[in-house]
Symmetry: C2
Subunit: 442 residues, 2 copies
């Protein structure tokens, strides 16, 4: 390398894909977008940079450590670290211009200065939907969210996944009931370990927390509850816990469970899981996690929940909402690593025209014709040998090559080669588009 | 406002749209993307943040003043200010993994700290295509670029626009010929004013520059050349300028002009304009500008050109290329202001289901059915009066409302109201999708 050259590096933790990978990534992103659109969510695109005082209105210590901030002129700015705070700002700012319930999707990059490792990126895509109410928001919206998750992951090509649903009011009410209303996080941390450490050790740790034997029995009875979603709700009602938080939580969970069939979600893809709570402290009701059962090591690939008040730092208006997020960059990286997402076999070019002659008019006419009919077309115009031209088509995995030699030119024909089957046939200029479109079922 | 609330502000110069505007914006963006794809360009998505040493390898004073930079850990980083430098880095970095000519499109935001005014944004979308060769790149690629511009703007709904093409070698050769090889910029600045100040003043200014009367005559003869692209090329050849740069430029322009018919570009949309040069100093051959003739005040809405070497700061490989860029945020803003782009009449929701009853099962069944058939559907589940429910549909400009009352539920029917015509009819549950899809010609 010459001494004055700069090394063309990309920052660690910043995903940058080769073309074939990018095509696969874009396909996933488009599938998610189309799924969100099918549920009637409106698009939103907020700025990447916001005033720091706006983005950090609510943020705590961990967030502040991870943010990318900068100053320019008099402005202290921060790159968005999620799509939720920008949504809160947007809804508060445009309150009088929006129609509620406000249903929006946003797909965009966010930045967090985490240690890059195993699919944790510093710049990554989030794909969010939220439904925000003005003052109140029906619980039926919570019931619809699993339907969005289900259809999105079905459209992404998955079958064996489980949408796990819980309601934080149930956990909160349980803890109130056993006199541990301030210790919800601790109780949860312990019961979450039952699969790993077993019932006896869980009991021991709950004892160490200062819970009575009766309280511990209630907790153990609680986490032993199993069955269909409806069964679980029934058993929760029979547990003898009578505080309002708990009863409301169980009622809400009942509604969410009641409609899953109507929303087209098979029972096998839906599960009530009383132990999930989601880390974020702003969830107040229904919470969601989604796991791919063949790849549990990925953790939850789509999570979210209900919150009481989206924009309390920006407005006096009460704006309850419910939403989910898919961390697409990480998901894509891990699915590629597990070879679940395959690349290759797709090309931005559907037909490559390869002229053997110097006069390109006929070849360009063909390209214009094909593009007009909806075929993505490229013409190989460099002066190279036939072998190099075909090599180009092979490397880009282009499915059709239209070879234009003297004979084709003279007869207004095209030697169309299917690069997958190797078959080549001579067809009329006018029949080329139909032939290729038929292959793609267009 | 309570005293501890943060004002939900958006930074000046940062575009943030209301839902109806966002839908119109996304439609333009998707049209551009689809047009680029039709020409077989592969997608690329480079990081927003790059090492400052990489992004600024080549930058000059103006760029450095406008950039958004930040430091985190040991890294000095800059937000990309165009999509060209990241492309140069990408191609140099992945040289051995790419297939040349490398045809990529990239649509993404870039950041420049310009004074925000009249559609100049600090965060804005660029929509770029480039064709990058390895060592050499056929001039036919330059001829294809106007086809991409033409079809993109046609697909955006425009008819009355002109793609102006020139070749910088012609201007360079002309200046060499008159002994002003070092003064190209000055000569150009003067001849560019001919429409404003007239021929006599142009002559005077060229005199002040120190040009001989013979040289001035040549320049005046040059800028008086007009006619069809082919005519202009012919007249350029007859001007008696014999240096190699000039002759190559005219030959290249001839090739570009020769194929426009084959590329499907009507003569009325294409013009050779000998005075355009583009400001950026890296263009070396063909240059492009595009104007909307009914909105000349917008300036060029799509510009670009040929460059000799894309990535000279990153690699010893010679990588010539040709490309264009559409500044979408500015274009959208100005077209909205001129009322060329209309908003409204499009909704993310194609059918809103309005249940009159408490039991939502039937309504949700209908939503699931419609979504499965490809209709974007939403269910109004809030407890509100009929008037408010219909008001919601009106505000969101939803074209169909499916009203589900007791009768509809009992008969497995739907009262489907076309919100545009006001017509309402009672149809079978199963016929709903077909009815709505027919309206959208799906």
């Amino acid at each position: 390398m010459k001494k004055d050259l700069v090394e063309p590096k990309t920052l660690p933790g910043f995903l940058e894909l080769l073309p074939q990978e990018q095509i696969a990534f874009d396909k996933m992103l488009e599938t998610i977008r189309e799924s969100y659109l099918k549920f009637g969510f409106a698009p939103l695109d907020t700025p990447v940079l916001e005033l720091s005082e706006v983005l950090l209105a609510k943020a705590g210590g961990e967030t502040e450590k991870q943010i990318y901030s900068l100053e320019k002129g008099d402005n202290k700015m921060t790159m968005r670290f999620d799509l939720t705070v920008p949504l809160a700002k947007y809804v508060a700012k445009n309150y009088h211009m929006l129609t509620f319930p406000f249903r929006r999707y946003q797909i965009g990059k966010v930045w967090r200065g985490e240690r890059p490792q195993n699919g944790r990126f510093r710049e990554f895509y989030q794909c969010d939907i939220d439904i925000v109410g003005d003052g109140e928001l029906s619980i039926i919206n919570d019931a619809e969210i699993p339907a969005v998750i289900y259809h999105t992951f079905k459209n992404l090509g998955f079958d064996n996944f489980t949408i796990r649903v819980n309601n934080r009011k149930i956990l909160g009410g349980l803890c109130q009931h056993i006199g541990a209303g301030e210790r919800v996080a601790d109780v949860l941390r312990i019961i979450d370990k039952i699969d790993k450490i077993g019932e006896d050790k869980v009991k021991k740790e709950l004892e160490d927390l200062g819970l009575s034997q009766e309280a511990i029995k209630t907790v153990i009875d609680f986490i032993r509850i199993s069955g269909t979603p409806i069964d679980i709700c029934q058993k929760l009602s029979e547990l003898g816990i009578l505080n309002e938080t708990y009863i409301t939580g169980v009622d809400e969970l009942k509604v969410v469970a009641a409609y899953i069939g109507n929303f087209g979600i098979p029972e096998s893809n839906f599960k009530v899981d009383l132990t999930i709570a989601r880390g974020l402290d702003y969830y107040t009701g229904t919470v969601y996690e989604t796991v791919l059962n063949d790849h549990l090591e990925l953790g939850s690939v789509c999570s979210g929940g209900r919150y009481d008040n989206l924009a309390g730092h920006f407005t006096d208006k009460k704006l309850p909402g419910v939403g989910i997020s898919i961390g697409l960059s990480r998901l894509f990286f891990q699915l590629r690593k597990a070879d679940v997402v395959k690349v290759g076999g797709s090309s931005p070019v559907e037909c490559l025209i390869v002229p053997l002659d110097e006069d390109l008019s006929y070849s360009i006419d063909l390209a214009t014709f094909l593009r007009g009919k909806g075929v993505s077309t490229s013409v190989y115009v460099e002066k190279k040998g036939m072998k190099q031209k075909m090599n180009y088509a092979n490397k880009l995995q282009i499915p059709f090559v239209a070879i234009i030699g003297e004979t084709e030119l003279a007869n207004r024909e095209v030697a169309l080669k299917n690069m997958m089957s190797g078959e080549q046939e001579c067809i009329k200029f006018e029949d080329t588009a139909e032939k290729i479109l038929a292959y793609f079922n267009k």
